[in-house]
C-alpha cells in the first residue's frame, strides 16, 4: 500500500515553494527596508534614517492626495457596502427566479470585465456628464470607485447570508415579526461581521486603485497611488517606498481584521 497522496512530499516541492515566497515577498521586504534609506537612491543602501517618512509627511501634495484617497475610499466603501447588502439580500432571501445567474454575473461584472475597459467606459460616460452639467468635483471618482467595489463587498456579505440558518428568520416571523423587523432584529445582528468585512475589503480596494482613477480623475485630483505613479515618472526617491510601506501596513492590518471577522461565528 502506498501512502496517501501528499503534495508536500513531491520532488521539488520545497524548491518551488521557496521560490514563490521569495518572488512574492522579497520585493516587498526590500521596499520596506529601503524606505529607511538615508541616501536618495532606492537601490544603494547608505544607512538608516526616518528622513523619507518625514519628507512624505511634510509634503503638501502627499497630504492632499492622502486626504483625497481617504475621502473617496470611505464614501466608496459606504455606498458599495449598502448596495452589496441589498444585492445580497435580493439574491439569497427571495425565491429562485429566472435570470438569477445573470443578475449574479452583473453584480460581479467589475471582477470579470478588464479594468481598462471599465476605465475607458467611465471616462467617456463621465465626460458626457461633465459637458452637460459642468460639474467636475470628486463625485465622479466616488461613483466610479463605488461601482467597482460592489463585488468585493458583496461576496463576503452573501457568503455570510448563505451560511445563516433560515429557520431563525422563520422563527422570528412565526413570533409576529414583520419582514422589516426580522431584518433589523435577527438578520442584521448576525450579518454585521460580513458587512464589516465587506466594507473593509471595499475600502482597501478603493484605496489601492490606479487604473480607473487615472482615467476618471480631473486635473488636481490625484489620489495617493496616482500621485506615486506621477512621481515615478520624474525622480524616484525612497519617499515612494515610505508611502508604500505605510499603505502596506494599513492593508495588512485590514486583511488581518477581515480574517478575524470572517471567523466570528453566530
Amino acid at each position: 500500500m502506498s501512502k496517501a497522496f501528499n503534495v508536500s512530499r513531491q520532488n521539488g516541492f520545497t524548491t518551488i515553494a521557496i521560490t514563490c515566497f521569495v518572488l512574492l515577498y522579497l520585493p516587498i521586504i526590500l521596499l520596506v527596508v529601503y524606505s529607511f534609506n538615508s541616501g536618495t537612491s532606492v537601490a544603494i543602501w547608505e544607512g538608516f534614517s526616518w528622513r523619507w517618512y518625514q519628507s512624505a509627511w511634510q509634503n503638501d501634495q502627499v497630504q492632499e492626495a492622502t486626504v483625497r484617497s481617504l475621502i473617496i475610499a470611505l464614501w466608496a466603501s459606504a455606498i458599495s457596502t449598502t448596495c452589496a447588502v441589498l444585492a445580497a439580500l435580493a439574491t439569497t432571501r427571495t425565491r429562485k427566479f429566472k435570470g438569477q445567474a445573470a443578475v449574479f454575473a452583473m453584480i460581479n461584472q467589475p471582477l470579470m470585465v478588464p479594468e481598462i475597459v471599465t476605465a475607458v467606459a467611465l471616462l467617456i460616460f463621465f465626460a458626457m456628464i461633465k459637458v452637460a452639467t459642468g460639474y467636475t468635483g470628486l463625485a465622479y471618482l466616488i461613483v466610479a470607485h463605488s461601482a467597482f467595489c460592489i463585488p468585493f463587498a458583496y461576496l463576503p456579505i452573501r457568503a455570510r447570508l448563505q451560511g445563516m440558518d433560515l429557520s431563525l428568520e422563520q422563527a422570528a416571523a412565526d413570533l409576529y415579526a414583520t419582514p422589516f423587523k426580522v431584518f433589523r432584529r435577527i438578520t442584521l445582528p448576525q450579518l454585521w461581521p460580513g458587512i464589516l468585512a465587506g466594507a473593509m475589503l471595499a475600502f482597501v480596494i478603493s484605496l489601492d486603485d490606479v487604473v480607473i482613477t487615472e482615467f476618471v480623475k480631473s486635473a488636481g485630483q490625484d489620489t495617493l497611488p496616482t500621485y506615486m505613479l506621477g512621481q515615478l515618472r520624474r525622480v524616484v526617491t525612497p519617499e515612494v517606498n515610505a508611502i508604500s510601506t505605510v499603505l502596506f501596513g494599513i492593508s495588512v492590518t485590514f486583511v488581518i481584521a477581515f480574517t478575524v471577522l470572517g471567523k466570528i461565528k453566530n
Binding site: Q170, A171, D174, Y176, V182, Q190
Partner: protein, 379 residues
C-alpha cells in the same frame, strides 16, 4: 375529552346555535409537492379537522410529511393544492407573522445573539405588549420550563434539552390560539421527557391552547393525545383517539406502527355490522372486529395484540404450534410460538408470583384469544 369521531368529518359551526366543539384548524385536501427529479410528494391530499382545545398528534415514521404539514400551517411552506382555514378564516392568505399560531421548531431555531430571556420575550415585544406585562410573562415562562437561573445565558451556552425548553417557552409566551410542536421532546433524557410530557399535557389543559404535536414516538402519542393522525408516506392513514388507534387499527400499517401486533392469515366468512366471522388457518372459526365499510369475503389478515392472547395446552388453543423462545421481562413474559402454518406469534403474559412456569421451549402449545378481540385488516 374523548372524541368518538374516527374519520375527518367536518363539524360546522352554527352561528347562534348550541355547539359541540368548534373546529380550530381545518385542513382540506392539502397537497405539497416539492419540485425535483422526481418530484417529492411530501403530503398527499390530507384532510384533518383539529378541534378547539384539543391535543392533536401527528404520528408517523421519519419523512412521512409531519413537518411539512406543520410548516404549511405556520406559513413557511405554501401548499401545491388544498385549503387551510383557522376558525373559518383562510390561513393561506396570511403571511406567517399574521397567523395566530406559534411553532416549537424541530431544530429549536433559538436566536443565537439573544439571551434566554430575550428569546422568550421576542414574540411579546413584536406584539407591542407593555414592558411590565412582558417582564411578568417572561418570568412565568422561565419558571414554567425551569430556566429561571439561566435567564441571562446566551443560547449557545445551554444544553440541548435546555434549548428545547427555551424554544417551548418562547412559543408559549405570546399565548397563541394554536401551538405547533415539532418533536419538542426528542432531545430530552427519559426522566425529563416524562416530566415534560405531563407538564405539556397540564399546560395544554390549563391554557386551553390547541396543540398540534408531532412525534414519531408511538408511546408518547398514545399517552398525551386526545386524537392522533397516523401518517405514512405523505398520507393520513387513520384518525382517532388513542384507544381507537390501538384497538381498532384501520389497516396493516397502523397496526404494525403502533405497538406490537401479530398478523394471522385468515378467511372472512361473513360480516354483520362491525362483527365478522373468520376462519383461521387451523380451520377453527371465531368472531372478530371489522371496519364498518363491510370487508369483502375471502382472504384477510387478522391482527391480534400479544397481550390479548394467552398460551395453554395444545388441545385448548385456537391455533397450535411449538414454543420457541421464552423471554422474561419482569412484569411480563413473552412467548414466541411458531404456528403450524409457519407464521410466528408472540404471546405476552403478565407474571404473577403464584404462577409456576408451565411451558418451556420446545413444548407443543396452543394459542388462544377471546372472540371479538382480533381486528380484521384491509390489506
Amino acid at each position: 375529552m374523548v372524541f368518538a369521531q374516527v374519520s375527518g368529518d367536518v363539524e360546522k359551526t352554527i352561528t347562534g346555535g348550541t355547539l359541540k366543539v368548534a373546529t380550530a384548524i381545518s385542513v382540506r385536501n392539502l397537497r405539497k409537492v416539492y419540485p425535483g427529479q422526481p418530484p417529492v410528494v411530501a403530503l398527499a391530499d390530507a384532510s384533518i379537522d383539529i378541534k378547539d382545545n384539543e391535543f392533536f398528534t401527528l404520528l408517523g415514521p421519519s419523512g412521512c410529511g409531519k413537518t411539512t404539514l406543520l410548516r404549511m400551517i405556520a406559513g413557511f411552506e405554501h401548499p401545491t393544492a388544498g385549503s387551510l382555514t383557522m376558525h373559518g378564516e383562510n390561513l393561506l392568505e396570511l403571511p406567517p407573522y399574521k397567523r395566530p399560531v406559534n411553532t416549537v421548531f424541530q431544530s429549536y431555531a433559538l436566536f443565537p445573539h439573544l439571551t434566554v430571556a430575550q428569546n422568550i420575550s421576542f414574540g411579546l415585544e413584536m406584539l407591542g405588549k407593555p414592558k411590565a406585562e412582558i417582564r411578568q410573562t417572561v418570568d412565568e415562562m422561565m419558571a414554567l420550563v425551569k430556566m429561571t437561573e439561566m435567564a441571562d445565558r446566551q443560547t449557545g451556552q445551554i444544553s440541548g434539552g435546555q434549548q428545547q425548553r427555551v424554544a417551548l417557552a418562547r412559543a408559549l409566551a405570546p399565548k397563541p390560539r394554536v401551538l405547533l410542536l415539532d418533536e419538542p421532546l426528542s432531545a430530552l433524557d427519559f426522566k425529563l421527557r416524562k416530566d415534560m410530557q405531563l407538564e405539556l399535557k397540564r399546560l395544554q389543559m390549563e391554557t386551553g391552547i390547541t396543540f398540534v404535536f408531532v412525534t414519531h414516538d408511538q408511546e408518547e402519542a398514545l399517552t398525551m393525545s386526545d386524537r392522533i393522525a397516523v401518517m405514512n408516506a405523505g398520507e393520513i392513514r387513520q384518525i382517532g383517539n388513542p384507544r381507537q388507534i390501538y384497538d381498532q387499527p384501520a389497516e396493516r400499517f397502523v397496526a404494525d406502527f403502533i405497538g406490537d401486533t401479530n398478523f394471522l392469515p385468515a378467511e372472512l366468512i361473513e360480516t354483520a355490522g362491525q362483527t365478522a366471522t373468520i376462519r383461521l388457518s387451523s380451520g377453527k372459526q371465531i368472531a372478530a372486529r371489522a371496519a364498518e365499510s363491510g370487508s369483502q369475503k375471502g382472504k384477510v389478515t387478522l391482527a391480534v395484540r400479544p397481550e390479548h392472547a394467552s398460551i395453554g395446552p395444545e388441545a385448548e388453543g385456537l391455533l397450535a404450534g411449538t414454543l420457541g423462545e421464552v423471554v422474561y421481562f419482569g412484569t411480563d413474559t413473552h412467548y414466541h410460538v411458531a404456528l403450524e402454518d409457519g407464521t410466528g406469534f408472540v404471546v405476552r403474559q403478565q407474571n404473577r408470583p403464584d404462577a409456576t412456569a408451565q411451558f418451556s421451549s420446545g413444548d407443543r402449545v396452543g394459542v388462544h384469544f377471546a372472540p371479538g378481540i382480533g381486528q380484521v385488516l384491509k390489506d
